[in-house]
């Protein structure tokens, strides 16, 4: 149990937690912005349904197709890399690579954003337009409305979304495995290595220990979330 969190394995755990936290944070913030934007589109009624259908699919997307879609778009020979090149922007020269930390974060956002959208859509739809109008009538600027009314109401939903995204990234595995050069450091990939690889003998238990640690971390995050949610709900009544 102790060996699973020492030396290189500790590095792996830190790397995984860092990646999950960063991609969950970005996903939560950008996803909430996206939801706020989509909620304001009312005209074709099917538009929102189309977006949420796509989000439902994209949130479950992962593995080879996703990894390859990004390689085809943002890899060294990718379509977007080339298109940016026409405009004189050198993405690779700027140090961007699809398989380093920043690159994997961007790829993760592809399924994190839709998940955040799905999770926070009901909350945003629950914000009554009349509240905004009331605030405006009382002389509040939009920024003040969001700071004093919108955000406090949305806080539990946004926190919950962040937690889900963290859990999602923490256990995401197929995508990182497919992008493997940077993904090999991720804990789920390492567990697979121990379960399947016969290269290191007598360490079968290490895989089980890592799996146990993963669950322990998730339970801690969940507990933290429950405390935070209780705090934020305190101001709701």
């Amino acid at each position: 149990m102790r060996e699973a969190v020492s030396g290189t394995y500790l590095d792996s755990f830190l790397y995984t937690v860092k990646l999950s936290a960063l991609s969950a944070f970005l996903g939560a913030v950008l996803g909430a912005l996206l939801t706020a934007a989509v909620v304001r589109v009312e005209r074709p009624t099917w538009a929102r349904q189309a977006v949420s259908s796509f989000a439902g699919v994209a949130a479950n997307l992962g593995g080879i197709p996703l990894a390859f879609a990004f390689l085809a778009a943002l890899g060294t020979q990718g379509l977007v890399t080339k298109m940016l090149g026409w405009f004189g922007i050198d993405l690779i020269g700027a140090g961007f690579s699809i398989s380093n930390f920043a690159g994997i974060t961007v790829v993760y956002l592809y399924f994190q954003l839709p998940l955040m959208f799905l999770v926070s859509l009901p909350a945003f739809e629950g914000l009554r337009p009349t509240w905004r109008e009331t605030a405006a009538n009382l002389g509040a600027s939009p920024a003040r409305y969001w700071w004093n009314v919108g955000l406090p109401i949305l806080t539990p939903a946004l926190l919950g979304g962040f937690l889900l995204l963290f859990a999602n990234a923490f256990s995401a595995y197929a995508t990182a495995y497919a992008l493997s050069s940077g993904g090999a450091k991720l804990i789920p990939v390492q567990i697979r290595f121990f379960l399947q690889g016969n290269t290191i003998t007598g360490k079968d238990n290490l895989g089980y220990a890592m799996a146990a640690w993963m669950i322990i971390i998730m339970v801690c995050v969940m507990g933290l979330y429950l405390i935070l949610r209780r705090r934020s709900e305190q101001w709701q009544r």
Binding site: L34, G63, F68, P129, M214
Partner: protein, 278 residues
């Protein structure tokens, strides 16, 4: 209900975000589709070669591959059984919570979120360790994936069914049916289920997307499902595998869209009937 007139204009910032998000989500898929259906290397891509050599050959090769059909059938069979298992287990739970045991609601809701807490890889490690010694035949069967997938899809399926059950006046419906002399099974099949048909179809589609996309568990238990086949055939026929991925993506999005359209219509109807009663 009085209709509130409100400002319908979509502000500029919202459009900016939507356009940026559309680019972010569409470009990788377009790039993948181009790779799958056009045989021109990116380095040679320019204004002259943009419409050259588009082809479906990769996809056709894939359909003719002898391993493709078994993988597809296996995934479809597993989808079917997972949907059936979900309806056999999750539906009674949701019914029970909505009729008899409202105080267990939060407990059940927390339990259905567990698949998010326990990473799939940890799930398969634990379950694999336990079953390998106790019931070895279980992991050898291809259908051992069914319970795993039912659990993985649970956060989505339970929520969908629960929303469906909450949107109808369940208690009144059951009491009315029972007092008119219908048996409990008859009430279930002739009254309750037809009323939540749209939630049932939603849960079905969600389960199917989970099964068609799951890779981790299938690969660790060495079951030749469609996602696994796609990843293995990548080396032999990358264009076919990715073409299939693009098509699956489009198809599942359309299925989802159809399901949400249906669901919206169903909800609107049920709201009308409840509104007429109260």
């Amino acid at each position: 209900m009085a209709k509130v007139t409100r400002e319908r204009r979509t502000p500029l910032w919202a459009w900016t975000i939507i356009v940026a998000a559309t680019l972010f989500f569409a470009l990788p898929i377009l790039a993948m589709a181009r790779f799958a259906f056009q045989r021109v290397p990116v380095a040679l891509l320019g204004r002259d070669t943009l419409f050259d050599r588009w082809t479906l050959d990769g996809l056709i090769d894939m359909f003719q591959d002898p391993e493709f059909r078994p993988a597809l059938w296996l995934s479809l069979r597993i989808s079917t059984f997972t949907v059936l298992l979900t309806f056999a287990v999750i539906l009674p739970t949701a019914l029970w919570v909505n009729t008899r045991a409202a105080r267990y609601r939060s407990l059940v809701e927390t339990a259905t979120m567990l698949p998010y807490v326990v990473p799939p890889i940890a799930l398969v490690v634990g379950a694999g360790g336990a079953f390998r010694d106790l019931v070895p035949w279980f992991l050898r069967s291809d259908y051992c994936l069914v319970p795993f997938y039912a659990v993985l899809a649970m956060p989505f399926t339970y929520r969908t069914l629960d929303t469906g059950l909450r949107s109808i006046d369940l208690r009144t419906l059951i009491e009315a049916s029972r007092s008119l002399g219908a048996s409990m099974p008859r009430t279930l099949f002739r009254v309750v289920l037809p009323n939540i048909g749209t939630a049932l179809s939603g849960a079905t589609f969600l389960t199917i997307t989970v099964v068609l996309g799951e890779f981790t568990i299938a690969s660790l238990l060495l079951k030749p499902t469609l996602p696994l086949y796609m990843s293995y055939s990548q080396g032999r026929n990358p264009q076919g595998a990715l073409g299939l991925a693009v098509i699956l993506l489009g198809l599942t999005t359309l299925l989802f869209f159809a399901a949400t359209r249906l669901r919206r219509r169903g909800r609107a109807q049920s709201r009308v009937t409840i509104g007429a009663i109260t």
